[in-house]
């Protein structure tokens, strides 16, 4: 074997090792899926059942109260399943994530453009303040915020949660969008200005459309982060506006812990994130370094 072949073989072996490690590493996700699709009895049996017939009982029970065994007629009375609190909370998660993401991405694109292209007095300090707001421990800000929200009637409202998440994502969006605008050639604007467009027009007509790739990446990141957020939702909401994550943390509010339900709910939270992560692809590193490292 020559040097090249030896490297090839070594590479193959390492890839096999990597796949093996991955299987061990992602075992908890497999286990989540298996717990969610097993019957209560099978979920707790040790040694575990490696072969089982998948069933959707748990998912149905997570969505509908009374959808379990009592579906149909009980003592001659028809039992209709009612939507559960978790279904509403999942809806809240979706609304809050999408609205705050849209707002943060749009406002972040505007500010990101300014910070990338225009001369701003004390730019570095302003950017530092913006990113610091992101670095703050949520609990620090939450203590006064809870009092403020109660006083203003924003406590336990979707609106209150949305504006908080908008701010939370905005810092990230500003830094991300600034790095994306940096990549757009300055000639775009110069040409437009020569044609008689104002800077404002040039931005919306030529630059803003060029920023769409960056905005999509920023939006996906914000979406995932809001979807996953725990502390603010825990502290700023009660019954009505609560999102899914703290609800799962509190065992979906059921008396006693039903792990089948929790696994089903958790799996529903995890699944969209998998899809969105694959959509992000090469932008992952950029997102986690606030645009500093580009692939």
């Amino acid at each position: 074997m020559n040097e090249f072949q030896r490297r090839q073989v070594k590479n193959r072996i390492i890839v096999v090792i990597l796949v093996g490690m991955l299987c061990v590493y992602l075992f908890p996700i497999y286990w989540m899926f298996s717990t969610a699709t097993k019957t209560k009895l099978d979920a707790f049996s040790l040694p575990p059942k490696w072969v089982w017939r998948p069933q959707i009982e748990n998912f149905r029970n997570v969505f509908y109260v009374g959808a379990g065994g009592a579906l149909g007629r009980v003592k001659g009375i028809e039992v209709k399943p009612k939507p559960s609190a978790f279904l509403r909370q999942l809806g809240n998660s979706i609304i809050v994530s999408f609205v705050s993401t849209l707002l943060a991405t749009f406002l972040g694109a505007l500010s990101g453009y300014v910070f990338s292209r225009m001369r701003v007095r004390g730019k570095d300090d302003l950017l530092f303040v913006i990113l610091s707001s992101r670095m703050l421990p949520p609990v620090v800000i939450a203590i006064p915020l809870v009092m403020m929200y109660r006083a203003l009637g924003l406590f336990d409202t979707l609106f209150g949660l949305i504006i908080m998440y908008t701010v939370f994502n905005l810092a990230f969006a500003v830094w991300m969008m600034r790095s994306f605008v940096d990549d757009i050639p300055i000639e775009y604007e110069e040409a437009a200005l020569v044609d008689g467009y104002s800077r404002f027009q040039a931005f919306f007509k030529f630059i803003f459309p060029e920023m769409r790739v960056g905005m999509v990446a920023t939006a996906i990141f914000s979406l995932i982060m809001t979807w996953n957020e725990f502390t603010f939702s825990l502290l700023l909401t009660g019954e009505r506006a609560r999102t899914a994550v703290p609800s799962i943390a509190h065992s979906l509010g059921t008396a006693g812990v039903n792990w089948g339900h929790i696994a089903a709910g958790s799996f529903l939270m995890v699944l969209p994130v998998v899809v969105f992560t694959f959509l992000l692809g090469g932008n992952l590193i950029r997102g986690f370094t606030f645009g500093a490292i580009k692939e």
Binding site: L110, P137, I143, V146, Q201, F230, W259, I262, F288, I293
Partner: protein, 300 residues
């Protein structure tokens, strides 16, 4: 051209545009971050309980001196430090090892890398909750596998003094090792190939290449990763909340969790604000270093 010039949009000056674009961002920051912070600074000098009818009473620095005199607070700082140290060390070596393995050309590299990255994209609270299920002493899958494969007797993961903090570390490692993988990969791919080729010509050893070529390129990014993870340990308490609820005793009460307890279980609002400010100063110091490093990376 007339269409371009005779509209209001054409008359927006550059100054005007600057203010228009930055205003919403700063109004939101002012309203939801800066104002609350000023308020809590005031409260940190007051004796106050948010669920009592009494208004805040100004007491000077009493909250701060009280905090620093309490042994329990220092214990909680120690717990936080222990947690960061254990988690970061394991994540660091594991993550860097995986990144070294991933740093080569092969079919399906992108998919494999993304699959390794996945755990850090999930909600820690959700994942932590499920780890608690897997870590159950009697019917948890982790004890079962450890027993079957290695003959280890059942461990009381989340409920014993010795293992409560390690069980949070285990969940943390599962979630955040990908972060080190991601940053290490970025560092590794930034090393110019010709340096290795030159080293090969000189018949340099593998260790030499690692020490004098790889490490200098990767080190700044890894420092960033360690810094970020340290900050996270002072910021979030999701895992503690769902896995051990701070117990047994207060053996897993990291600082942010303790602040949460002070503020929303014991309702010592004044004290919690004071401790929050201490934490804030730590975080600002750390993030200052962090952002400086980010900016330096951005320029290169």
């Amino acid at each position: 051209m007339v269409g371009i010039r005779n509209t209001w949009a054409n008359r927006v000056s550059e100054r005007g545009m600057l203010y228009l674009f930055l205003l919403p961002t700063f109004v939101l920051l002012l309203f939801l971050v800066i104002f609350p912070l000023i308020w809590s600074l005031y409260l940190s000098f007051c004796q106050y309980s948010a669920n009592a009818a009494n208004p805040p009473i100004f007491v000077g620095i009493r909250n701060f001196s009280f905090i620093f005199q309490q042994k329990e607070i220092w214990d909680r700082f120690a717990v936080t430090g222990k947690f960061v140290a254990m988690a970061v060390v394991v994540e660091f070596f594991l993550g860097f090892f995986i990144a070294m393995l991933l740093n080569r050309e092969f079919y399906g590299k992108g998919v494999l890398t993304t699959l390794f990255i996945l755990p850090m994209m999930f909600s820690p609270a959700v994942i932590g909750k499920f780890f608690r299920f897997m870590m159950d002493t009697n019917w948890g899958i982790i004890n079962y596998i450890l027993g079957k494969l290695f003959g280890i007797p059942k461990i009381a993961w989340t409920t014993s003094y010795e293992y409560a903090l390690p069980s949070i570390v285990v969940a943390d490692v599962w979630i955040w090792t990908p972060f080190i993988v991601l940053l290490s990969l970025a560092g590794l791919s930034s090393v110019p190939k010709y340096l290795y080729e030159a080293a090969d010509v000189d018949r340099a050893s593998g260790w030499f290449k690692f020490r004098y070529i790889t490490l200098p390129y990767v080190a700044p990014i890894l420092l960033l990763a360690v810094l970020f993870r340290t900050m996270d340990a002072f910021r979030f308490f999701d895992l503690v909340y769902v896995i051990t609820e701070g117990g047994p005793g207060y053996s897993t009460q990291i600082i942010p969790f303790y602040i949460y307890k002070l503020a929303f279980s014991y309702w010592h609002t004044g004290q919690s604000c004071a401790l929050a400010y201490v934490l804030l100063i730590i975080i600002i110091a750390l993030s200052n270093i962090y952002i400086t490093y980010l900016n330096r990376l951005r320029r290169t």
